[in-house]
């Protein structure tokens, strides 16, 4: 380890002597960002944009077209085209000078301060931003593993899984049963499973109205519960049954026979959408940034890892306190992180951290709801300071406005991440 560090130090010094303009006398500080979603791409964009070229930013993201998990339920419900969820990285490279590398980050050596890519390259960093999203906890749904995801899709990372789930819904026969195995807390996008139920019900009501939807949920309650349950009754009466708490914990799924074993019964599913328990994206654990629950603890006023001051962790992978795992949260955290990274590397002003989140959900046509809160850093956690939620019984035109607001938000945040 010592040898390697000494070696790298020497190399860097020589490189600086050879390549750096004499006026600067030192190389541009290097930031590597792992993950091109709402957290990572926003952080890369703001670090590059606001440092005006003073920081060398590399963004590592395996996919060339990134499909957002947020709004993917609207595609399932027929409210959006699949292509509208896709975003590319061209503007980050051309407008902001970010070096975008389409590869997997497979390892991080925090002593040497390097990231290893699946393609074999090694990248050095002065600061590292890790925004890897989520992965699934093996064995959390008995009988299911990632190898069964083609039979029982999770569709909780957007892309081909989302298309597969949509195709399975379209192939259902009228009278079939759509089963969702809902995840335990904490998980990405708290209202997501229930918005998905709404969107699936919207599709089934039009084409296969005798079909049923069953949700098995290990939780006693869920995000926007009263709003969703009221909406399901109004839009899809008799179609949706939610089984929660002790009765919601299933015994086993059998992907080969499309069966769900629960409370002594065997249920035959036409579609079985398994959303397993989650943990931080795998590279976070490989980098040694996770706790024993699989999440990454962070410093509330900078988003630094609690375990390494040169590493910042964003979004769904974090254990942050009160902020939910959402694209809005990740985008909000990324801006605080970008400011802190620039401060650490170039001495720019460190302003006080502010965080916010709002999650919109669509329950039926023109029936949008939202929940949101603002947050401030405290010593131990990011703490909620105030919040709001849509109310049951709101007039239809307000719900329509809320839906339109969500479309505006999607356009806004994707421009804020990718443009």
């Amino acid at each position: 380890m010592m040898n390697r560090r000494t070696f790298l130090g020497t190399t860097a010094a020589v490189a600086a002597l050879l390549a750096a303009p004499p006026v600067l006398g030192a190389a541009r500080p290097k930031v590597v960002v792992i993950g091109g979603g709402a957290g990572g791409a926003t952080a890369a964009r703001y670090i590059a944009k606001d440092s005006k070229g003073a920081i060398d930013v590399t963004l590592i993201e395996p996919t060339r077209t990134y499909y957002t998990c947020f709004f993917s339920n609207l595609y399932l419900g027929g409210f959006r085209e699949f292509d509208s969820l896709g975003h590319t990285y061209g503007a980050l490279a051309s407008q902001h000078g970010i070096n975008v590398v389409h590869d997997w980050a497979v390892g991080v050596d925090r002593d040497a301060r390097t990231v290893t890519l699946a393609g074999g390259d090694t990248l050095a960093y002065d600061a590292l931003v890790v925004s890897p999203g989520i992965d699934f906890v093996e064995g959390s749904v008995p009988g299911w593993s990632v190898t069964s995801q083609n039979k029982m899709p999770h569709a909780y990372k957007a892309g081909s899984q989302t298309q597969l789930l949509k195709a399975q819904i379209e192939a259902m026969e009228d009278g079939g049963t759509y089963v969702m195995i809902a995840p335990p807390n904490p998980y990405r996008c708290p209202p997501g499973p229930y918005e998905r139920i709404s969107m699936v019900a919207h599709m089934l009501k039009q084409t296969k109205p005798s079909s049923k939807i069953l949700i098995f949920d290990p939780k006693d309650k869920f995000s926007k519960m009263a709003l969703f349950q009221d909406g399901w009754q109004r839009h899809y009466p008799g179609m949706v049954e939610w089984v929660g708490g002790d009765f919601g914990a299933i015994d086993e799924v059998r992907p080969d026979s499309m069966e769900v074993l629960v409370n002594g019964d065997t249920i035959k599913a036409a579609v079985c959408n398994v959303i397993p328990a989650m943990k931080a994206g795998t590279v976070a654990a490989r980098a040694g940034l996770t706790n024993d629950q699989g999440w990454c603890p962070i410093v509330p006023n900078t988003m630094q890892s609690r375990l390494d001051e040169r590493v910042y962790v964003l979004g769904d992978a974090t254990l942050n306190g009160d902020m939910p795992k959402s694209a809005f949260s990740a985008n909000s955290q990324a801006k605080v992180c970008a400011m802190a990274v620039r401060h650490a590397l170039t001495g720019s002003t460190l302003f006080p951290a502010k965080y916010a989140n709002t999650c919109w959900s669509l329950i039926g046509t023109d029936d949008g709801v939202k929940v949101g809160a603002s947050y401030e850093p405290e010593a131990e956690k990011i703490a909620k300071t105030s919040g709001f939620i849509s109310q049951v019984g709101e007039p239809a035109d307000l719900r329509q406005r809320t839906y339109e607001e969500s479309i505006g938000w999607y356009a806004g945040i994707t421009a804020d991440i990718f443009s």
Binding site: Y46, D50, F328, N331, S332, K335, M339, T349, F351, K354, A356, T358, K370, G372, A373, S374, E376, T385, S386, G387, F388, P395, D397, L398, Q400, R401, E404, E405, S406, I407, G408, W409, A411, G412, I413, A415, D416, S419
Partner: protein, 221 residues
Amino acid sequence: MVAAGAAVAEPPTGDAERGKVVFKVCAACHAIGQGAKNRIGPHLNGVFGRQAGGIDGFRYSDGLKRAGVTGLVWDYESLDAYIENPKALVSHTRMNFPGMADAIDRAHVLAYLRRFSDNPANIPEAPPRHPPSPKLPPEVLQIKGDPAFGEYLASECTTCHRADGEHHGIPSITHWPVDDFVVAMHAYKQEIRANPVMRMIAGRLSDDEIASLAAYFADIE
């Protein structure tokens, strides 16, 4: 009947006859009374209790329609705030009126409007004790914002409001006159404007932060 000179100033009670005179400045655009029709502005019969932007067939600004469906109903408080400064209550309203600063004149004209609403008995004759238009000491509008600080704070806004000014479902906030921006944000902060997201965001912004945001967005490239 104006209660004046007391240690604690009582809010004024309007006189509809005086209001009829004050209304002349409104009558350039608004008709009221039997057979009144929409003109440049909508007719004002039955305005109390009506949802903002609520007359079918009148071409309201998007801002006013949005305010209406997100909860703005014309009652004594909201009308008082709107007449005092239309843009403080509703962004981009087409009501091209600089505002009526005199609270007593407003009370008179509201008393006059009240005559033409369906159930005047249900409408308070006296205005509320705490008039709701944003209370802004003149020095708040004098604060010089720091655009660099505003740029950092603005990153919270651009999650929803597009920096390039494009808008669909969420209004543009770029290139606003600084005063309009400041007054609008204080109207959210003081919970006169309805949108809960904006109440939350504005609620924790200091006067300096609002001034800095206004300075940044006014001159954004």
